[in-house]
Amino acid sequence: MFWASYLLAALAILLAWPAPIALSRASWPARAPFTAMVLWQSIALAGGLSMIGAMLVWGLEPLGDNLISASSGFFDIVLNDRSAQTLGVIHVFAISAATLLFGHLVFTLALTFVRIRRQRRRHRDMLNLLSSPAADQPATLVINHPAPVAYCLPGGARSVTVMSDGLMDLLSRAELDAVLTHENAHLHQRHHLLLWAFAAWRSALPWLPTSQLAQRAVSELIEMLADDEALRHVDEQTLMRAIVIVGAGTLPRAADPLDDPLADETRFGTTPGADVTGGTADAHSTAPRLRRLLTPLPPLGRVQQALALSTAGLLLVVPPALLVAPELLG
C-alpha cells in the first residue's frame, strides 16, 4: 500500500501549494462566492486529511495493506504487547508525526475557540456598559464614537450588531439599512464559524501558504456574500456609497487630534493611525468589493459551478477512499 501513501502525499502537496495559489488568483470566486467558499473548505479539510493520512498509511505499511487492518495490527502491538519488530524506527517516526499533527490541529482549533469566546465575552461586557440599544432596530447597539464603525459580534442568541453614532451621522437611512443587512447576513449565515476554523488553521500551520491564502480569501468571500444579501434590500449605488463613506472615514485621521479621541499617545503607546496602516499586510481591500458592485458580472455558469462543487466533493471523498482502497482493490 505504498502507492496509497504516495498518492496521499502528492494530494497533500497539491492542496498545500498549487491549488490554493491558483484559486486565490482566479477571478471567478467574485462571481460565485458561495461555491468558492465551499471549495476553500474542502481544500483545507482534504489537505489536512491527506497530510495526516499519508504519514499514517506509510508508517503502518508493515502491519497491513490498508488502514483498517493495519490499525488493528497496531493496537495489537500497543495493547497486547506483541512484538513490534516489523516496525522500523522510521515507521514509528511517521506514525508519531501523524498523531502529533492531528493532535496539534485539534488542539489549536479548541484553543482558538476558547480564545475567541473569551475575547467576545469581554467585548460584550464592555458593550453592555458603554452602548445603548438602537431606537428602531432589534439586536443593534449604538456606541458614542466619532469614527464611522459598524461590526457584528457573534454569540448565539446574544449576537449583536454595533454602530457608532459617527456612522449614523454620515450615512443616510438607506445606506444604514445596507450596512445593517450586511452585518445581519454575517450573523445569519454563521460566517463566524468559517472565520474561526480558518483562523485556527492559520495559527496551527502559519508557514503553510494555503493557510494564509485561505484565511484572506475566506474573509473576502464572506464580505461578498454579505454584500449580496444587502443587495436584496438596497441597490448597488446605496451599498457602494456606504462602503466608500465608511472606508474613507475608518482610518483615524491622526493629524487631527480633535477629530480623534484615540490620539492620546501615552495611553496606547503609539498613534492609532500608525497602527492601522501598519497592518496593511492583512488589510482587507475594499477594491474587490467595489469592483463587483461597479461592474456586476453575471453569476458563474451552471456548468462551471457544478464543476467546482464536484471538485470540492471529490476532494473530500478521495483521501478517505485512499486510506482503505488497497483492501478494496486487492
Binding site: T112, I116, Q119, R120, H123, D125, M126, L127, N128, L129, L130, I143, N144, H145, A147, V149, A150, Y151, C152, L153, P154, S164, H182, E183, H186, H191, H192, L195, W196, F198, A199, R202, S219, I222, E223, R241, A242, I243, V244, G247, A248, T250, L251, P252, P261, L262, D264, R267, F268, P272, D275, V276, T277, G279, T280, D282, A283, H284, S285, T286
Partner: protein
C-alpha cells in the same frame, strides 16, 4: 429582576457621573433614589459590594484603601473606555480577526485617499 450586568451598568453610570469617590453605602442610596428602571429597589450593600468587586476585577473601578469604609471611583472616563474599545475594533491584529466582523476591514492609507477622492468627486 435586574441582572448583574444591569447593576454593573448602573453603578458605572453613577461613578462616571460623580467626580469624587463613593462608598458602597452612598452608591446604594444613589441607586435607590435614582429612577433607574428595575434596578432601584431594595439593594443590599453586599450586593453593591459584589458588583463593585466584579467591576474592580474587570479593571473598571479602583478602590481607595486608606480608610474604611473603602471608597470607589471609576478608573477612567466613559469616553476613554469607548475610545479604547473602538481602538480594539479598528486595529485588527491577525489573531483578533475572527472575534468580530467589521463592515469595512482595515483600509490602507492610499486606499482611504482614493475613497476620499471618490467621495469628493461624486
Amino acid at each position: 429582576m435586574a441582572t448583574l450586568g444591569d447593576l454593573e451598568r448602573t453603578v458605572m453610570e453613577l461613578l462616571w457621573a460623580t467626580p469624587e469617590a463613593m462608598t458602597a453605602n452612598e452608591l446604594r442610596d444613589a441607586i435607590a433614589e435614582a429612577p433607574l428602571g428595575e434596578v432601584g429597589r431594595e439593594l443590599a450593600v453586599t450586593t453593591v459590594l459584589t458588583v463593585l468587586s466584579r467591576l474592580e476585577k474587570k479593571g473598571l473601578v479602583k478602590r481607595e484603601r486608606d480608610n474604611r469604609p473603602h471608597r470607589y471611583k471609576s478608573v477612567t472616563s466613559r469616553e476613554d473606555h469607548t475610545a479604547e474599545l473602538m481602538h480594539e475594533v479598528l486595529v485588527t491584529a491577525p489573531d483578533r480577526e475572527a472575534v468580530l466582523a467589521r463592515f469595512i476591514g482595515s483600509v490602507s492609507e492610499t486606499e482611504a485617499q482614493t475613497l476620499r477622492k471618490l467621495l469628493g468627486g461624486s
